[in-house]
């Protein structure tokens, strides 16, 4: 066979040859498997993508911005140079020369003073919660009440729309000073309402003491501390009653609920003498600690206290009524 004959033979070869049997069933089965695999392939991918998005979103939501105001505060074990993120569970710690500013979500800010250790506990739209292990923070929150909480070893400061300074040592002994709005400090069943211009001592075992105004006489403050945290409570109560002014009504209102029933009448009578109860509040109801009477009384005391505080140096306010005093 020569080259030409070979080429002729090649030219006669059929272009197509049918396979000996139908190959389609095998092809169809493989395609089906691949189709399912391809469909399922997206399941873990989609799940992974969703997880990543969730974690990213969660990470963004569950973290607050922190700015170093002085020195190099620590977030966890990382030194903060200018700014960073405080994530849920992270501890922020300042030394004796550093300070930091935490953005409380979108509702406020907390300045962390030197020698302070604070942890972000919850960062959600409905709850903003820090834990103050020790040190001093200055909080300023502009939000509806009960969105911002600070836990301390002695109890929890609950924001009611306010500004305040909270300090505690590692054992829980500390002080809450409210400079705007009002704060509740709660330890178990014991609660203190602290309006602007007032303070409350806090202790680990007993929680918040009896609040007092920031211009209260030192003997009165000592008597309150004695009543709240020391022995000789009956004598302390008598001292408190003797030393109280109309401006100290908020202390007596708290005292009314804390003294034993035998002394409660004395406290009520002194409070009523200093700031007459509003209409509808009865002695019997107050002594029975009826919430309707106590709340109505608190509203009046709070209103007077507010006017006394914000108009201090501007206008003379009658501390018994909250009205402008006659010259």
């Amino acid at each position: 066979m020569n080259e030409r004959e070979l080429q002729d033979a090649v030219g006669r070869l059929p272009k197509g040859i049918e396979p000996p049997h139908d190959l389609w069933p095998g092809i169809a089965a493989r395609i089906d498997r691949r189709s399912w695999r391809r469909r399922l392939y997206w399941v873990p991918l989609a799940a992974a993508a969703a997880l990543v998005l969730y974690l990213l979103a969660r990470g963004e939501r569950n973290a607050w911005d922190v700015t170093a105001l002085a020195g190099r505060p620590l977030i966890g074990t990382t030194r903060l140079t200018a700014s960073g993120r405080l994530r849920v569970g992270d501890w922020l710690q300042t030394d004796d020369s550093s300070r930091a500013l935490i953005a409380v979500g979108r509702i406020g800010q907390v300045e962390v003073r030197p020698e302070t250790r604070v942890q972000l506990v919850v960062a959600s739209a409905t709850e903003h919660r820090l834990a103050l292990a020790r040190g001093v923070i200055d909080a300023k929150v502009d939000a509806v009440p009960r969105l911002f909480f600070v836990e301390t070893p002695a109890g929890t400061a609950i924001d009611l729309g306010c500004a305040y300074t909270l300090e505690t040592d590692s054992l829980g002994k500390g002080l809450l000073h409210v400079t705007g709005g009002e704060v509740e400090f709660q330890t178990g069943q014991r609660m203190a309402r602290v309006p602007l211009g007032a303070l409350v001592q806090i202790r680990p075992a007993s929680g918040p003491g009896t609040p007092y105004v920031d211009d209260a006489a030192a003997p009165l403050v000592r008597a309150l501390i004695a009543f709240d945290f020391e022995r000789g409570r009956a004598r302390a109560v008598r001292n408190i009653l003797a030393l109280s002014r109309p401006q100290d009504a908020l202390s007596l209102w708290h005292l009314l609920q804390r003294v034993n029933p035998a002394l409660r009448g004395l406290v009520y009578d002194r409070l009523a003498a200093l700031v007459p109860p509003p209409p509808g509040v009865t002695r019997r109801g107050a002594l029975a600690l009826q919430s309707r009477d106590l709340e109505a009384y608190w509203t009046k005391i709070q209103r007077i206290h507010f006017r006394l505080t914000v108009l201090r140096g501007v206008r003379r306010i009658d501390p018994r009524t909250g009205t402008t005093a006659r010259e």
Partner: protein, 174 residues
């Protein structure tokens, strides 16, 4: 360039019935190519299935820039040659001269009767020579294309073709 015909378009959209029609239309050509390139009927069946599975995966990338049959042909060549490159398991299954059914063995259908000697002789060629011969003399590829497809030098392609033709003439003269 002609747009993909309706069958191709439907198959591209995931219509398996249309894809089956494409298979029916092109399987003879694809199987012939696989059979001649592999020299083995069983391998040819496997590669033919591979080609159509691959086609299912790649079909969406067909844009109609060339005739569908040409595109499929090139795909088939790549599938067969890639398989040969990536597997070392293949044993050359030389069809026995005593096997009267030819290319695929007793249970497999033979090529057309008149060409059975040539088909057998092609199948008996060494792998390299057979691939070049099939691609150049039967499928009409140039040496440059074959060199790129097979992964050899163009001169090697020419030498393999020369060798294949000589071997075939010798076989067919016996």
């Amino acid at each position: 360039m002609p747009p993909p015909d309706d069958l191709v378009a439907r198959a591209q959209a995931g219509d398996q019935t249309a894809f089956r029609e494409l298979y029916r239309e092109h399987v003879g050509r694809v199987y012939a190519l696989c059979l001649r390139l592999t020299g083995d009927a069983r391998d040819a069946e496997e590669r033919t299935q591979d080609v159509f599975v691959r086609l299912w995966d790649k079909l969406r990338s067909f844009r109609g820039d060339s005739a569908f049959s040409s595109w499929l042909h090139r795909l088939a060549v790549n599938v067969v040659l890639n398989e040969r490159r990536t597997t070392s398991r293949r044993e050359r299954r030389v069809m026995s001269a005593e096997d009267p059914d030819g290319v695929g063995g007793a249970q497999h259908a033979a090529p057309l009767h008149l060409n059975i000697d040539l088909e057998r002789a092609i199948a008996e060629l060494p792998d390299g020579a057979r691939e070049v011969f099939v691609l150049f003399d039967i499928e009409g590829y140039g040496h440059g294309e074959i060199a790129a497809l097979v992964g050899i030098a163009e001169g090697t392609s020419k030498a393999q073709l020369f060798r294949a033709r000589r071997l075939l003439r010798e076989k067919l003269e016996r």
